[in-house]
């Protein structure tokens, strides 16, 4: 049975206008969004398979001549739907700052060193069980201009596709116990604590590789579940 995508599931998302994050003030729609049914145009979505992935795309420590500086980590988990079923064969893209908190991006002015051995971009496709895995270095915290002495908690940006154009998700993965959490308006734009914790990875001792790398587990839950008899009645 094809999945349905109840809109109520989006209630945990940040509001478009979250004034604590200043840039939302001029970049959020001011008129109510128009409610429309899901048609074939929304229920379908792009498919990218293993053919778009090249060697070392998921190992950010092997994309240059030498290894990048920083704390080597493994980040892995499953992409799931709202029924906890794996989402297989779906594209996952990541990008992040280097260990010093500096992005390769030209616009990043943070006076921290670039690392010639680190770009900070990766991609992979989930396997048949919805699993993905990246090897990278732990990104550093960095300052930004939102308010005086504003610093972003350590995070990795994720872009995930899923089963339709409605499941498209761009988000950020955080690290457990970050002392910057209480001060970050982006993290706190998600007001529900349980939902906020969805964005925080867990330390995964069992999958740490001794003498080599620590490991963090992060499962990603996308929209989509099977229709229940109640949903069927509505149709």
């Amino acid at each position: 049975m094809p999945l349905i995508y109840p809109k109520e599931s989006l209630d945990v998302f940040p509001k478009h206008l979250s004034p604590g994050y200043r840039s939302t003030v001029k970049r959020s729609p001011s008129k109510p969004l128009i409610v429309v049914p899901h048609t074939l145009s929304e229920l379908t979505g792009p498919v990218y398979g293993h053919d778009v992935i090249q060697e070392n795309d998921n190992d950010l420590t092997k994309q240059h001549k030498s290894e990048p500086l920083g704390e080597r980590i493994i980040v892995h988990g499953q992409v799931l739907d709202e029924d906890k079923r794996p989402v297989p064969e779906t594209l996952v893209e990541i990008w992040q700052a280097n260990a010093c908190g500096r992005y390769v991006h030209l616009v990043d002015q943070h006076p921290a060193p670039l690392d010639p051995n680190f770009t900070g971009a990766g991609r992979t496709v989930t396997d048949k069980n919805g699993y993905y895995k990246f090897i990278t270095v732990k990104p550093g915290a960095y300052p930004w201009g939102n308010h005086p002495n504003a610093w972003r908690p350590n995070h990795i940006h994720f872009s995930v596709f899923g089963t339709s154009f409605l499941t498209r998700l761009v988000t950020q993965m955080y690290f457990p116990g970050d002392y910057l959490f209480p001060y970050d308006p982006i993290f706190n734009s998600v007001t529900d604590e349980k939902a906020r914790n969805r964005m925080v990875s867990t330390f995964d001792l069992d999958n740490t590789v001794p003498d080599w790398a620590l490991c963090f587990r992060w499962d990603i839950v996308l929209r989509g579940r099977e229709a229940t008899p109640l949903d069927e009645e509505k149709h």
Partner: protein, 204 residues
């Protein structure tokens, strides 16, 4: 009991080197990153049939200022109105994927080369006029916003079941105007995120 879904967070200002590494090079000679692109702003595949078109537009904020760090993604059917997705049983034989990504330039401009989509099935057996679904990400957007592009030269717009749910006075914000450039059709589609003549965005 359904699982809580993972909340959205902003794409931030620095996505380009990872998600659209070649796009910026078009206007900034230093703007080439070594990373390979998965998705580009050119959707045309050699085997795709249909009318080749360009789409171009500017995205602006509530002050009318260009948003120079947005990522625009589009999803569309092929010229025969079929989506390259397992959920559409009429899957096209062509390599045409129907998905594109464009990072805006310093003037807030985005653009795509693609094939004009055909009409696609809609609710209650009613056809939908040819259209393209837009998904917009940007610094200052904590979650994506969805809109649709319709074509100014398509008579079926008047009967489109989705367009008809939009207040009549706002429908025009969803219609891209046809121009010609270099002998090829170009559809101009500006996106105003907030304020006067604000583009219609959908709650889906």
């Amino acid at each position: 009991m359904s699982e809580i879904i993972t909340p959205s967070q902003t794409v931030g200002p620095f996505f380009a080197y990872g998600l659209a590494p070649k796009g910026r090079a078009k206007w900034d000679p230093n703007g080439t990153y070594s990373w390979k692109e998965t998705v580009t702003d050119n959707l045309v595949t050699p085997d795709a049939t249909g009318e080749k078109i360009h789409i171009e537009g500017r995205i602006t904020d509530g002050d009318g200022k260009p948003i120079n760090d947005a990522m625009i993604e589009i999803w569309q059917a092929d010229a025969q109105g079929r989506y390259a997705s397992p959920r559409d049983s009429r899957r096209p034989n062509a390599k045409f994927k129907g998905f594109g990504r464009s990072a805006t330039d310093k003037d807030g401009m985005f653009g795509f080369a693609t094939i004009k989509p055909g009409a696609v099935p809609g609710p209650n057996g009613k056809a939908q006029a040819p259209h393209i679904v837009f998904c917009i990400f940007s610094r200052g957007m904590l979650r994506q916003i969805y809109t649709r592009l319709y074509f100014s030269d398509e008579a079926p717009n008047g009967a489109d079941p989705i367009l008809n749910l939009v207040p009549a006075e706002r429908r025009q914000t969803l219609v891209a105007m046809k121009e010609t450039r270099g002998g090829q059709p170009l559809y101009r589609f500006d996106i105003r995120v907030q304020g006067e003549r604000e583009t219609v965005f959908f709650d889906i």
